[in-house]
Symmetry: C2
Subunit: 231 residues, 2 copies
DNA sequence: TACAGCGCAATGTGATCACATTGAGCAAGC
DNA sequence: GCTTGCTCAATGTGATCACATTGCGCTGTA
């Protein structure tokens, strides 16, 4: 309750958007970017006041976020940002791998030259951000890289599932990045993925994506180093 | 609007359960069991009246079900049971395969003798139900078989994701079963899975699960026969 | 000083009302 | 006869109020 309603910068409310959608979008983005530390309690009235809306849209947004497992509903009916545990983290990355390898494999035949070029551009942005130490951009652009690849195939099942898993890793990312600003392992698996795409090599692409996910921040977490930060 | 509120048998409301939870549970079960045909429009006031509760708990339950993709939110802000298309069906089964093969693989080392016995019992129930033509039991027990296997490992990520995908196939199942009551392909992949578990053979288990998913009702759908029923 | 009991503030839940939007039916005009 | 525009019912959205529960702090007593 000391800082239940910090700055919490809300996005601009686009035309025709309901307050519920606006609130949901703002909360979701805040959670994904790690604006709320794990374990943080969130209250309907607190958020409603901070966003200057009534309780109603906030209630519905919270329900939705709980359903997506971006937030946790406690037994006392209170809502908080999920805690991260080594087991959960490992599960999240196992799920990510299973889903994203499949999504990449399915998207591969539908990646055209324009999309491949876009992927290359994103990868360069990431590399530049790594060099300049801009961790926030690294995470955001890395997500964009993966999403851009999978979206080559218009998919209404796998992509939402993948986003759901990303969302669950969100609150943890902030803490992870602050502790280990640039945790690159020296090998660019995005580049390997791009080569595999250009060559149309499905097996190589699957392996590149799997490696990319596993080496990103995953291996650090497995060693238990990051968990201590978030707990 | 002709039959916006059919019988809709609600489960008993357990002690300490909020109305929201009760409504959500009832709706979710109804959807999974195919009580609502695909394309069916659902309204807040209609359901509230049918369940004899106010609009509030229904609103929140619908939001939640939309978040879980058990229901679809149209542009006009109305909610309906999702339509099934061949593409979506294929995506659902691809996602199921990716997630469940992984879940089975991870659960394998933790399956003890008691659980294996339980799985055998479920499989026998399924076989009996197939012989007697009880399709409803086949689907329910088949779900239970898979869930019992994956739950050997206490998992808070993969299992909910799998349930989410099952939920999305729900409305379609009723129509599928009515059209093709016992669509067995002659080979019991559950038995193959059980053998693989007993032998501790991970590769064989992965293959058995993948085949089981693919041959269940999946291959029928791919041929387009079932889609016509649901559309 | 430690602990039990009370009481109030905070919070979630549910109901109801007011309003905007959607959509369908109907009527008037071309 | 077809089309356009209007009207009204149906529906979703948002706000507000009342109530139950939770949880914490305060106080009084041993």
């Amino acid at each position: 309750m000391t800082d239940d309603a910090p700055k919490l910068t809300m996005p601009a409310r686009s035309a025709g958007e309901t307050i519920h959608q606006w609130v949901f979008r703002g909360l979701r983005r805040a959670i994904m970017s790690g604006a709320f530390p794990p374990g943080q309690a969130v209250t309907i009235r607190g958020l409603a006041e901070a966003m200057e809306v009534s309780a109603m849209p906030v209630r519905e947004a919270l329900r939705r976020l709980v359903a997506e497992r971006a937030l946790t509903l406690l037994d006392n009916r209170r809502v908080r940002v999920p805690q991260m545990t080594p087991e959960r983290f490992e599960e999240l990355y196992a799920a990510r791998t299973a889903l994203e390898v499949e999504a990449a494999s399915r998207a591969l035949p539908l990646v055209d030259a324009a999309r491949l070029e876009k992927l290359r551009a994103i990868d360069q942005t990431i590399n530049a951000a790594i060099l300049s130490g801009d961790s926030e951009t690294v995470v955001a652009q890395n997500f964009l890289f993966h999403l851009t690849l999978y979206s080559a195939r218009r998919d209404s099942v796998l992509v939402p599932l993948i986003e759901s898993v990303w969302l669950q890793t969100g609150p943890f990312m902030r803490a992870a990045l602050e502790a280990f600003p640039t945790a690159a392992d020296g090998y660019d698996y995005h580049l390997a993925a791009l080569d595999a795409i250009a060559a149309g090599d499905e097996a190589a692409l699957r392996q590149a994506i799997a490696h990319d996910i596993r080496t990103g921040i995953g291996h650090l977490a497995l060693s238990g180093k990051l968990i201590a930060v978030a707990a």
